[in-house]
Symmetry: C2
Subunit: 280 residues, 2 copies
């Protein structure tokens, strides 16, 4: 019997946890609904108990069967067979926000990370993350750092994510923290990666085919640098970049995009637009 590979739900941070919880509801729906067993990984956060309480309540409110809190605070925890077993028993894994660097340092290449890949592939486990936990789903992520709103050479340092979505760089809190500059700068340095910036309370749902669909209240910005020219090889670090022919997609709820081929797919109809000030 074949099981479809689990969906990814990649959230730009600050998702609704009190109201209709549209995005978290999608995580539960894709994790088996009332049979959902959600492993919650708070490794990125510096306030793990609070994070665990917030997401436990939200997921139980949404009808999940059970929550499996995982306390992974160092490499030993990340290789602990009990934690690997917990991942294997979950139908969904959720990574909270916090520090991308902590996720890379603690989870990168660990047995828990391998279990996430394996469970997604073999058992259809849904893998979700918000903010730093969203970046960690991608193959590459920006380490916490430069918040300049203008693109400069060497303004970003990339670190490896868990690699559940290949050849992409995911950034979050995107429009709210004005991160287009660091995304285009990173793509200029590495046109190999597709840059994806996700707004707050907005998410991507990615299927096995790497087709993504946008849900939530904001936008997702996709930066394709294949045709980009820049002056990056001829200027000094810290100097402003000139970037020509960036192919930019700004996607709202319902929009779809095929990551592997970098092509637009037809949108899912949105009968009642999310966030419309003119309802009815």
């Amino acid at each position: 019997m074949s099981t479809e590979i689990g969906r990814l739900v990649i959230i730009g941070g600050a998702e609704d946890k009190e109201g209709d919880k549209q995005i978290l509801a999608r995580v539960i729906a894709l994790s088996g609904a009332d049979r959902a067993r959600i492993a919650v990984i708070t490794t990125a956060s510096s306030i793990t108990a609070e994070m665990e309480a917030i997401y436990t309540r939200a997921f139980l409110d949404l009808g999940a069967a059970s929550i499996i809190p995982l306390h992974i605070d160092d490499r030993a925890d990340a290789n602990n067979p009990d934690h690997v077993e917990a991942i294997s028993n979950a139908t969904g894994v959720f990574m909270t926000g916090g520090s991308q660097a902590r996720l890379a340092h603690i989870l990168g290449g660990s047995e828990v990370a391998k279990a996430m890949h394996r469970s997604r592939r073999d058992r259809g486990t849904c893998i979700a993350g918000t903010s730093a936990g969203a970046s960690a789903i991608s193959e590459h992520m920006v380490r916490d750092g430069d918040q300049d709103i203008l693109p400069r050479k060497d303004m970003t340092n990339l670190i490896p994510g868990l690699g559940l979505l290949k050849r992409v760089l995911i950034d979050q809190h995107f429009t709210q923290r004005q991160r287009l500059a660091r995304l285009v700068a990173a793509v200029a340095e590495n046109p190999f990666v597709l840059g994806i910036g996700i707004d707050e309370n907005t998410a991507l749902v990615v299927d096995a085919d790497t087709t993504l669909e946008v849900i939530g209240a904001g936008t997702v910005n996709i930066v394709d640098g294949r045709s980009m020219d820049s002056n990056i090889t001829s200027i000094r670090p810290g100097t402003l970049l000139t970037l020509n022919n960036i192919n930019l997609h700004i996607l709202a709820a319902g929009a779809r995009f095929h990551v592997e081929s970098r092509t637009v797919r037809p949108s899912v109809p949105q009968p009642v637009p999310v966030g419309s000030p003119f309802p009815g």
Copy 2:
């Protein structure tokens, strides 16, 4: 005897007026240097006396021969033959910031506006403007309005500028006020126009051929919507836009671009990058 058509200097607001005044110095250089007679139009502003004093001091500091302050506060002023005569005697015209709508209401289609076109064409007069005065140089401009950082249908209202640069829409304070959303929304509605967003303390110098060069400390964002697809015809006002295949150029000092053909031109070398944190 033929005279070359006057240059345009289009400034994104908040240009340096106290230090080396790089941008304002270019206005003076292109207006005849120590023979420069600069007509200053404060029509956009609500603090005209203060504006007049600031720019008079800055331009005289930079070696201008004389300043011609024009007080144009209504349509009668804008058609006053004395003001038309003053424009005809100037070697440069400078429009301050303030309200785009005031410039359209008062200067649009006036004898003073016609004199600016005529002097530029026949006498090589340099035409410069900052902030609202920059937008007014273009054929189309955004009326003061929606400051949403996400692109929505009908978020902008376009009004006519003075049309010194055709088939473009110029916005200013661009990255600082996070105006990419309203620029891409305006271009989605009107792919006919090339969207140009100019940062603070940054300017375009445009020659007769419509080749622009970027000067100053920030970036210029150019949004070309010729290949753009959007959902604009199928959604309601206020709904988030999905915009695919935006062709975006982010240009720093020295970068050049040909407006009429919408193509990149080779950059002017910048031996000492402006604003580099790593000088020397």
